[in-house]
């Protein structure tokens, strides 16, 4: 069983697809993860299931991997398991979740954004470049930088879960690079492909952070570290205040523009 716990999740699901279905059933969404290097032991710990659910999960996985065998299940390493699945964030982490809400509003507009704005026209190019600027400035230079330069540094750099998140950031940056190249080429299909790739990465990435990474970090940060993070984030927020408002307005206006266009189309 110990060997099983130290197996990367993608390898385990590859050998035993039923394990992926079991994880899905308890809300552990490892199956679509593009990296999958997290160890089963770490995944179980990070998701902080109530003790009975965790024991039941391990028993079901053991039954798939060792059918018909009596397996001694591991004791939880945590002092106590969560009694509730409701997520309550600390103040600095809550700030990051609020930023995610702005990014998710933008991501939700991307399919229509890609359809509506034609890169072959000057006006279309201007709006697409404004979208790229939102991604590079608000999502990446502001939000992802707070994570990579401040939050993640409080944890062991080589942790699988952090590697997965940073890999998501790199893939998102690659999509923006492809988007800008598509704009240069006046290539509408390239624009749509890069925006759709970005939307898929970010939607999954934000869900992983909001539901798994951030609650796990909150459980492992000391009160002192929470205070330090809050102060550091506040410094960044103060320096970025005007731009933060500007990008908030950009998303507001984009929502209004696309809504007006869809109403126009219905008429």
């Amino acid at each position: 069983m110990e060997k099983l716990l130290q197996t990367p999740i993608k390898e385990l699901i590859g050998r035993f697809p039923a394990v992926g279905e079991i994880l899905d059933e308890v809300g552990i969404g490892c199956v679509p993860c593009s990296v999958g290097t997290c160890l089963l032991a770490d995944i179980v710990e990070i998701h902080n299931l109530p003790s009975e659910e965790e024991r039941d999960l391990m028993a079901r996985i053991a039954a798939v991997v060792f059918p018909g065998e009596v397996v001694k299940l591991p004791e939880s390493k945590r002092a106590h398991s969560a009694g509730t699945r409701e997520i309550r964030y600390s103040p600095p982490i809550k700030g990051l979740v609020e930023e995610h809400k702005v990014i998710k509003r933008f991501v939700a507009l991307l399919p229509e954004f890609a359809r509506e704005f034609d890169v072959r026209t000057g006006e279309g190019r201007e709006l697409i470049l404004a979208g790229a600027d939102f991604i590079r400035s608000f999502a990446d230079r502001y939000h992802h930088a707070k994570e990579e330069e401040i939050l993640f540094t409080r944890f062991e750099e080589k942790l699988d879960i952090l590697q997965v998140m940073q890999d998501d950031h790199r893939r998102a940056r690659a999509c923006v690079k492809e988007l800008l190249e598509a704009v240069e080429r006046r290539d509408p299909e390239g624009v749509e492909r890069s925006l759709s790739g970005y939307a898929a990465i970010l939607a999954e990435h934000i869900k992983k952070e909001d539901e798994i990474l951030y609650p796990w970090m909150d459980r492992n940060l000391s009160t002192h570290q929470i205070g330090e993070l809050f102060a550091r984030f506040r410094e960044v927020d103060d320096a970025f205040r005007e731009e933060r408002n500007k990008y908030g307005e950009f998303v507001d206006n984009l929502e209004k523009t696309l809504l007006a266009r869809s109403r126009e189309a219905i008429r």
Binding site: P92, T223, H224, I226, G227, R234
Partner: protein
Amino acid sequence: MTGFQGCPGSRMVEFNKENLPEGTEGARVASQLRQWPIQLHLVSPTAPYYQGADVLLAADCAPFAMGNFHNDFLKGKALAIACPKLDAGQDVYREKIKAWFDEAKINTLTVLVMQVPCCRGLVGLAAQALAESERKIPVRYVVAGLSGEVLQEEWLEA
């Protein structure tokens, strides 16, 4: 039902000593207290030990209920104690908590209270002080049960 109609904070409860867990006989628990005084009326909110500190504001009764108070709550923190029910001058308390935020520039505040309703007044004072202060910091409150168990932990809106 006990038939008791008065304040839950004053209701008489006797714990069954037969069922109490064993103490740690022989193992002395080192004190984590690193300052004096500690009563909120007696302390200066700008005393050196509050500057930039993680501060614990504990209801008077809480340390008696919590067997491992020193290690679980006091360790690494500057302390003040108060009773939101019996102490006079609660406005002074609110001003002192504000001074922790704005002048002593404390890092965090943890408010530790008992489960009895009157104890929530201490959380209310901290929330008012936070709302009125110019400088915001993370403020957490912890509610302890009569047997010392943690019943609730929440962050106040900064």
